[in-house]
């Protein structure tokens, strides 16, 4: 009998349940690697998980969010012969190619989102045609510091190309003492402002920290 929904290619001793289990394990493994990548940029506490819809909206702050869903995809190519030759290193190669692709796209998305937000708010510092340490100090001046609910001030993180980061650090370290004093003053002032803002925020509650 020739059923008409038969797939043209015959499969010998296929193990669908085993395959499903294997593929789920691959997805789980890639997922855990992706989490590690994201954690390099964002703390898990600052990550929101979407269950419905395709974008966030904050009615209290319509300017926030608004970028919607961005799809990341990555692919890898495996040769049949490599499978037949039982090259176990294929697992590492495939995983590396997939995670590198995802990492690159995630980083690109993150920085373009930050760039868009900075462009919109005007929070942009140009380093061209002036000393790097001056641009750095202007940058620190422009970035608002934040304090957490326990009163711990978090200093801003600097993400830069390794070469640029090296130059920037060298410029700051080699700057005169007055520069460093000024930088410390800015940090102290901005930390104080951050704590004040946090206190103001808490004061908006009817009561805070009381049982």
């Amino acid at each position: 009998m020739q059923p008409y929904e038969k797939t043209p290619r015959r499969n010998y001793f296929s193990d669908p349940a085993g395959n499903t289990g294997f593929n789920e394990a691959v997805a789980k493994y890639l997922g855990s690697l992706q989490k590690e990548i994201v954690a390099q940029y964002l703390s898990p506490e600052n990550t929101l998980r979407l269950h419905h819809g395709n974008a966030w909206q904050n009615p209290a702050n319509p300017e926030a969010f608004g970028n919607g869903m961005k799809e990341h995809s990555s692919s890898t190519v495996t040769k049949f012969q490599d499978i037949v030759d039982h090259k176990l290193e294929l697992i590492d190669q495939c995983v590396q190619q997939l995670t590198e692709g995802m990492h690159q796209q995630f980083a690109q998305m993150l920085y373009s989102t930050v760039t868009d937000a900075c462009d919109r708010s005007g929070n942009v510092v140009h380093a061209k045609d002036r000393p790097l340490e001056d641009a750095f100090i202007e940058m620190v001046e422009k970035v608002p510091f934040s304090a957490d609910r326990h009163g711990v001030v978090r200093l801003p993180e600097v993400h830069a190309h390794p070469e640029m980061a090296k130059k920037m650090m060298a410029a700051v370290e080699n700057a005169p003492v007055e520069y460093k004093q000024r930088l410390d003053q800015i940090k102290a002032r901005k930390s104080k402002e951050a704590l004040e803002r946090e206190a103001e925020r808490k004061a908006k509650f009817v009561s805070y920290g009381e049982d």
């Binding site: 015959r10 669908p16 499903t20 289990g21 294997f22 789920e24 691959v26 495996t78 499978i83 090259k87």
Partner: protein, 644 residues
């Protein structure tokens, strides 16, 4: 009571007329009401020629619900057919294509009526264009709440054209109808082992006969109890004047009562064989269903005969060519506890023959596929990476089953030279095309290596057997004897492969086989091939590896989930075994062997279906001459070795 409703429609008010449908229905009716052929009751059976849909419904109601227990109901239709929204309709005189649901007879309504009237066996024959389209309906109709719970022990359906085909007509009648009548009237041979025929058997025969023609019969159904009921078997030696009714009534009735509580489970087992099939759950369902028939071997044999015929047809829908053989094998293994009865042995022999033929056919197909496409063994459904684990498993299975095909010939009436030739060519092809994947990955490969290696050795394929043993032994040494457990869950196979790659097995320790049977198989192969000089120098690399052999007390429970009456022999390299000779000395001199070729075949198949047991007797048969030399070599090695 045996009732027939035969419908043929030539004249259509809204469709093109046909020329031979009425003649087909008339021929079928007149043949089947003959007492010595079909034995259908002429007073209650009906022949309808170009009826209206109302007349069809009225006739159905009269036949199925006028009273009296219906033993067999057969429905025949020749005419136009049509498919709408996944449902199949039989068109009659007043049917309109734009209103099939109200003007044509739907197949699903017939099934509901059958389910309600619950004849012991129902046969439906449809010779209509697009009648293959009823397959779409069957997915719905097969639900056990329609059939399984309704107390309907058997429904069989044969449709003689595929969905996109017109039903061929010739001046002598419809091609499908002619083929069926040829079987009924003895112009074509179906089988000669039972006095009556089942429609499934006829369906299988005409499927084979019409293969390659434009007609692609659809055969579907399962008769779970009682004798074949469709018609007399013209090829069986019995009194030709004896009415079919008597032949059917003479059949032991025990099967229906015993099997009835398991209808639902068996229907589910039946539907599973063409899809994702699990040999253990299938086998458990069948074994549980036939268990109550242990004291009525005739009835037990009959049930397995019926199942084998129906399940094989269903299994042929799978896209794994080995499925049909595996399903037959599972049925055979279920007979192991009952082989002491002569009647069961006869059934077992028939199932061995069927398994052997199916296995040979699948092996030939595989060989052709591998020769045409060197990647034919890669699984199109897998994510490819998973084949790093499953391809070596598949290679073991392929070689094991192909070698099993040759072993089965020994127990059947089929010459084994063809099966051996296919096995040899397959083994050589795999050693060339898939050498990299000839790997020991899981201990579940052990039974397949055992059957393949022992057959290769028995056939004198010394080079191939040595190469296979060497590749596997090297693979085992490379991973330090750390094979995945036979029952490793699918989601642990990736961590296992990563462990194999890195050499760090900490995260998968719970999923390693300990002790393993694979090493026992390779050492037994090494003994039979006299590879002492090759394997002994590397044995230290497996220092600490425990290996095992389970020798059953007898083979009656060799298909059971667990066996507890045999010997579980275990050795450890570096404690009990330092050289192959140590295994030779300590292997039990006597072990239980299968009592017959059929039992050996069933035990071999049990090891292939349930790979946590090995058919060691295949190696013992090989020990006669090579073992003597290996043993002598071992003895002489010991005499030369200083005490240590």
């Amino acid at each position: 009571m045996r009732l027939l409703l035969s419908i043929g429609c030539n004249s259509y008010a809204h469709l093109g007329n046909l020329g031979g449908a009425e003649a087909d229905a008339t021929r079928m009716y007149e043949t089947l009401i003959r007492p010595e052929v079909g034995g259908y009751d002429p007073t209650r059976s009906r022949l309808l020629l170009s009826p209206s849909v109302a007349e069809v419904r009225s006739a159905l109601a009269e036949i199925l619900f006028a009273g009296g227990q219906i033993d067999t109901f057969t429905f025949f239709f020749a005419g136009h057919g049509g498919v709408r929204a996944g449902s199949f309709y039989m068109c009659v005189q007043d049917s309109r294509l734009d209103a099939l649901s109200v003007s044509a007879q739907s197949l699903s309504d017939i099934f509901r009526s059958i389910s309600e009237a619950a004849p012991a066996q129902s046969n439906l024959i449809i010779d209509a264009c697009q009648s293959g389209g009823l397959i779409a309906d069957l997915g719905v109709l097969l639900k056990h709440d329609i059939l399984g719970d309704a107390g309907t022990p058997g429904v069989t359906l044969v449709a003689t054209s595929a969905q996109d085909q017109g039903s061929g007509e010739t001046p002598a009648g419809g091609i499908g109808t002619n083929a069926i009548l040829d079987c009924i009237e003895g112009r074509d041979f179906v089988q000669d082992s039972t006095a009556t025929l089942d429609l499934v058997e006829i369906g299988r025969r005409i499927s084979t006969r019409l293969q390659g023609s434009k007609q692609s019969p659809v055969v579907w159904g399962l008769n779970l109890s009682g004798p074949p009921r469709f018609c007399r078997n013209p090829s069986f030696q019995s009194d030709p004047a004896r009415p079919v009714r008597e032949l059917v009534q003479a059949w032991p009735q025990a099967s229906q009562e015993a099997v009835a509580p398991h209808f639902e489970k068996l229907w589910l087992a039946y539907t599973s064989v063409s899809g994702d099939w699990d040999p253990r759950s299938f086998s458990d369902s069948v074994a549980e269903s036939i268990g109550p028939l242990a004291d009525t071997p005739d009835a037990l044999g009959n049930v397995i005969d019926r199942m084998a015929a129906a399940m094989q047809v269903r299994a042929e829908q799978s896209n794994d060519p080995f499925r049909s053989a595996q399903v037959c094998a599972a049925l055979l293994v279920c007979l192991l506890p009952h082989l002491k009865h002569a009647a069961v042995q006869q059934t077992a022999q028939r199932v061995v023959n069927a398994t052997s033929a199916a296995l040979h056919s699948a092996s030939r197909q595989l060989l052709a596929d591998v020769q045409a496409d060197q990647y034919a063994l890669l699984d199109s459904r897998s994510g490819l990476l998973s084949d790093l684990y499953f391809l070596p498993m598949r290679i073991a299975k392929v070689l094991g089953w192909a070698a099993g095909s040759a072993y089965l010939c020994d127990a059947s009436e089929i010459d084994s030279s063809g099966a051996d030739q296919v096995f040899v060519e397959l083994l050589r092809s795999i050693l060339v095309l898939y050498q990299g994947s000839v790997q020991t990955i899981s201990d579940a490969q052990a039974p397949y290596w055992a059957v393949a290696l022992s057959r290769a050795i028995a056939l004198g394929l010394r080079d191939e057997a040595e190469q296979l043993t060497g590749l596997l032994f090297n693979s085992l040494v490379t991973c330090g004897g750390r094979l995945a457990r036979a029952d490793i869950p699918g989601h642990e196979t990736l961590p296992y492969l990563i462990a194999r790659r890195t050499g760090n097995y900490d995260s998968v320790r719970d999923y390693l086989g300990r002790p393993i049977e694979t090493l026992t198989v390779l050492l037994k192969s090494g003994i039979a091939l006299d590879l002492v000089d090759v394997l002994d120098p590397s044995l230290w690399k497996l220092d600490g590896t425990s290996f095992v052999a389970y020798l059953p007390a007898d083979f009656s429970d060799f298909g059971a989930p667990t066996m507890d009456r045999g010997q579980n022999l275990v050795w450890t390299v570096g404690q009990d075994v330092y050289r192959i000779g140590d295994l030779i000395r300590t292997w039990p001199p006597e072990m239980h062997r299968p009592g017959s070729g059929v039992e050996a075949a069933a035990a071999t198949l049990a090891s292939l279906l349930f790979p946590d047991r090995v058919a060691w007797f295949h190696f013992d048969n090989l020990l006669i001459s090579p073992a003597a030399s290996a043993s002598e070599a071992a003895d002489s090695a010991f005499t030369k070795m200083p005490a240590c």
